[in-house]
């Protein structure tokens, strides 16, 4: 889905560029335009048709007419509210802990360990190549009740373990977002200027670095949110009442409700994406004069 959005965005910015009088080849322009629109439409159908089908199906719970019965049924289900609430809290905790880990790390790597940057980047990419199921089995082996740190022994411990799992899953996105944000400011000079004015590390990171990469941190935060809301494997194997497993249970037992739930999940994700681009745009407008 996000691939389609980015294609669309690229397509639109390309159009804007052309309208501004960018390079415009004379011959074959119409031909090329035809094919690029065709590709866009085919791609759009590929992504939107199933979604439209799902949406249409979710409205057909009442025989012979369209209704919001399936949605009512989902929204009235106490498990929906519980699991969504649980996942939202987990997402917020993931964001906070993620920021606390990623911002100082990315900052320190840029400031003092620039040679380690490729290594750190590689580590942050590992969650993309190691399946979540492998990670979670590793967790269970490492932190089971007979281990040195029996996290899975209590509910709270398991929640914390799951939250760290989420932080890890979101790492490729949060780290990259923050690191890109840091690349737009002169980290070393700003740090040294603040130091010569008597600032401590906490002041430097809290009052200078964090506010200056706020947009990037927010991008990372919304991506974390979207990941946590839809995550299934870890929550299910750690047996926590999260939104992902609930969707799966509902999907296995009902007909129309899962479709409604899928639409709701999409809406939440899209709202996150929308907020993301909104925040990015606001922070960019704030520096427009630069």
């Amino acid at each position: 889905m996000s691939f389609l959005l980015s294609t669309l965005r690229r397509r639109l910015s390309l159009k804007r560029l052309q309208r501004r009088g960018g390079p415009r080849p004379k011959s074959g322009n119409g031909f090329r335009r035809f094919w690029s629109w065709t590709a866009l439409i085919v791609g759009g159908l590929y992504f939107f048709l199933p979604l439209i089908g799902t949406l249409e199906f979710s409205l057909r719970m009442r025989r012979g007419e369209y209704s919001l019965d399936a949605y009512r049924s989902v929204l009235e289900d106490p498990r929906f509210q519980q699991t969504l609430g649980y996942s939202v809290i987990m997402a917020l905790a993931t964001i906070v802990v993620g920021i606390l880990i990623v911002v100082p790390t990315a900052y320190w790597v840029r400031l003092r360990l620039p040679r380690w940057r490729p290594v750190i980047e590689f580590i942050t990419l590992l969650p993309l190549v190691i399946p979540a199921i492998v990670v979670v089995f590793g967790y269970i082996r490492l932190f089971n009740t007979s281990s040195f740190l029996p996290m899975t022994g209590t509910t709270m411990g398991t929640n914390i373990l799951l939250m760290f799992g989420y932080v890890m899953l979101a790492l490729p996105y949060t780290y990259r977002a923050v690191d890109t944000g840091l690349s737009t400011i002169d980290v070393r000079s700003l740090t040294e200027a603040a130091q010569s004015l008597g600032a401590s590390w906490v002041t430097i990171i809290g009052r200078l670095i964090l506010p200056n990469v706020f947009g990037a941190v927010m991008s990372g935060a919304f991506l974390s949110f979207a990941i946590v809301i839809g995550e299934f494997t870890m929550a299910s194997l750690l047996n926590r009442p999260a939104f992902g497993p609930y969707m799966q249970i509902l999907g296995a037992n009902r007909a129309y409700e899962p479709a409604a739930l899928a639409v709701i999940a999409f809406a939440i994700t899209w709202a996150c994406m929308g907020l993301l681009s909104l925040v990015t745009r606001i922070t960019r407008v704030g520096r427009a004069g630069k």
């Binding site: 400011i185 002169d186 000079s189 700003l190 040294e192 200027a193 603040a194 130091q195 010569s196 004015l197 008597g198 600032a199 401590s200 002041t203 200078l208 506010p211 200056n212 520096r287 004069g289 630069k290």
Partner: protein, 345 residues
């Protein structure tokens, strides 16, 4: 008695010795420039004083107190950077007040101090702007105000003018000097621009390959350079080889011409080094051929050849002598007092 003392300062990065046995005493209120080509270690010395680099060995003390191992945020020095380094998320006033806020100065004392500082740099009405709304020169003045606001013991300037255009550079350097004298603050200024260093310093440290070649007042650096490097780096230097014909009267032969300097010289071959302003046109003297004439406004720079040795000298615009044409033959006299003479190998 000296305020800042650097003793036997050394700094190595890996196997490279960047600063070697560096010694400097700075009096209170003095304006010192560290001058040298890039890579000479001048910035490293400044960064060690600021506390951003730890010396490999040696001692730094301020007002009798050893600060060698003190952390940068406890040294109470004001620093201005080439890249301005203003905090982009804070307004001008917040930038200037940052050091005070960190030090816990209450708002009621902070605000008048910020206003004073903005008045000092001549930007009293720009407190609410953000850094990106200011020109480069304005940003650097704000950076200066920010460095001075917490009343630091010392002001450290790391090539503060290098990113600015020529006109702003000159006016800002004068402003820096004025403010420095007004506040009487001990200042170290790092630059690779000799004109800048000469214009505003009490003393200049010329650095070369991690060593302080000469520490002296600008006039002495220029007129009496102590090493070949200083002589060549600061100002233009013409080098001529001469055969001494009579050591007692200083009668010498340069190219095909013979002149008498009127001072004793070592016998044999000597190297004469002279600044462009040591030459003047004359009816007799060293024969030369003009190769290029450059009009610089108040001065006219002339390049000529004495046999195969290139020399360059300057004439005042509107002086008594007619400006020579390229290709013409001229005669030059050298002021003996402006010559550096060395026995040639």
């Amino acid at each position: 008695m000296s305020f800042l003392e650097l003793q036997n300062l050394e700094k190595s990065f890996g196997d490279t010795r960047v600063v070697k046995d560096f010694n400097l005493n700075v009096a209170k209120g003095e304006f010192i420039s560290l001058l040298g080509p890039s890579g000479c270690g001048k910035t490293t010395v400044l960064r060690m004083v600021a506390g951003f680099e730890a010396p490999t060995s040696g001692r730094i003390s301020v007002d009798g107190k050893d600060i060698t191992r003190l952390r940068a945020n406890q040294r109470n020095v004001g620093m201005v950077f080439q890249s301005y380094a203003l905090f982009p998320n804070l307004t001008v006033a917040q930038n200037v007040g940052f050091g005070l806020k960190v030090a816990g100065v209450p708002k009621s004392e902070r605000n008048p101090r910020i206003a004073d500082m903005l008045a000092l740099i001549g930007l009293p009405d720009l407190g609410d702007r953000y850094p990106w709304q200011l020109s480069g020169g304005q940003q650097q003045r704000v950076a200066l105000a920010r460095a001075l606001a917490p009343k630091p013991q010392m002001l450290l300037l790391d090539e503060p003018l290098s990113a600015l255009d020529a006109k702003v550079r000159v006016s800002l350097r004068n402003q820096i000097r004025e403010i420095q004298q007004q506040l009487g603050i001990t200042t170290i200024f790092v630059t690779h621009d000799q004109e800048e260093a000469m214009a505003i310093s009490d003393r200049i440290v010329v650095m070369h390959q991690g060593v302080a070649d000469q520490i002296a007042a600008p006039q002495d650096i220029y007129n009496r350079p102590s090493t070949e490097f200083v002589a060549g780096f600061v100002g233009t230097l013409n080098r001529l080889t001469a055969d001494v014909l009579d050591p007692e009267t200083g009668h010498i032969r340069i190219g095909g011409s013979e002149i008498t300097l009127g001072q004793p010289l070592p016998a044999g071959r000597v190297t004469l080094s002279a600044r462009p302003e040591a030459f003047r046109l004359a009816a007799t003297g060293i024969a030369a051929q003009v190769t290029k004439v450059e009009f610089l406004g108040a001065l006219i720079s002339v390049a000529a050849q004495i046999d195969d040795t290139p020399v360059s000298f300057v004439l005042f615009n509107g002086g008594d002598d007619p400006v020579p044409e390229p290709g013409s033959r001229i005669h030059l006299q050298i002021a003996p007092s402006r010559l550096l003479i060395k026995q040639a190998a």
